[in-house]
Subunit: 117 residues, 2 copies
DNA sequence: TTAACATATGATTATTTGTTCATATGTATC
DNA sequence: GATACATATGAACAAATAATCATATGTTAA
């Protein structure tokens, strides 16, 4: 590369960087996005989410199903709740959890497609 | 709840648990799925991925763009590479990275929709 | 209101992980 | 080959986090 070409290359890169920077969402949004994926990024939580793919389950169901302590399930459900990934309703002594919306299913399905390649 | 109702309730729950267990993918798959989302679950990596949404970038571009050290970017790109989320090509001294496939964009977009609610 | 059951939560601990610093590898130009 | 530049990598350290244990809260039925 000649010296002139070199200069042009650098200027071109600067241009690209500047444009990308303008198109980039606010840091805050990207931070929230990462936080969201972090919730999906634990195998216990993924198992819990997946078990609710077709039906609602109570805490005890999940604990037995996945061979986890009640405490552990409860802790994880709290995280899933606060990320709005699951909703719940009380019925007597039990509390039934289910996936909050179609986004959750869609995100998991997309991930599955990538993994199953 | 009468004692009989109680018994029926427990039997019904057992049934549900059994059915869910049968429908659940292998642990190995769910583990891989969690590992995949874990990669998306860091704000530095999300920023890197997002910056490549429209165009390929070299390591130095990304470092300047996101105000990160070259080393840090390189480490993260290694993780993104091994998860098959980005591909790359060499051009002279530089190495240009880009998103590997449409799944990556789709997963990020889905996440964005959830976050932006 | 007490006993029994279901779920939630706080503190502690062990593990995982992202960044930094130093250095190595790879490429082009002289 | 020597130099300069771009990227990769290994080791070490600090911060984040999931499981466990103990205990608290909430609900039902006697």
């Amino acid at each position: 590369m000649s010296e002139k070409e070199e200069k042009e290359f650098l200027a071109a890169r600067d241009d690209v960087v500047k444009k990308v920077l303008e198109a980039q969402p606010d840091d805050e949004i990207l931070y929230d996005l990462a936080e969201l994926f972090k919730v999906f990024g634990d195998s216990t939580r993924i198992k819990i989410l997946y078990s609710m793919f077709e039906t609602e389950l109570c805490v005890n169901d999940i604990a037995r199903l996945l061979n986890l302590s009640q405490s552990s399930v409860s802790h994880q459900l709290r995280i899933l709740k606060s990320s709005k990934l699951v909703k719940f309703r009380r019925e007597g002594k039990s509390i039934f959890y289910s996936l909050d919306d179609e986004h959750v299913r869609a995100i998991i399905s997309m991930g599955m497609e990538h993994v199953e390649e």
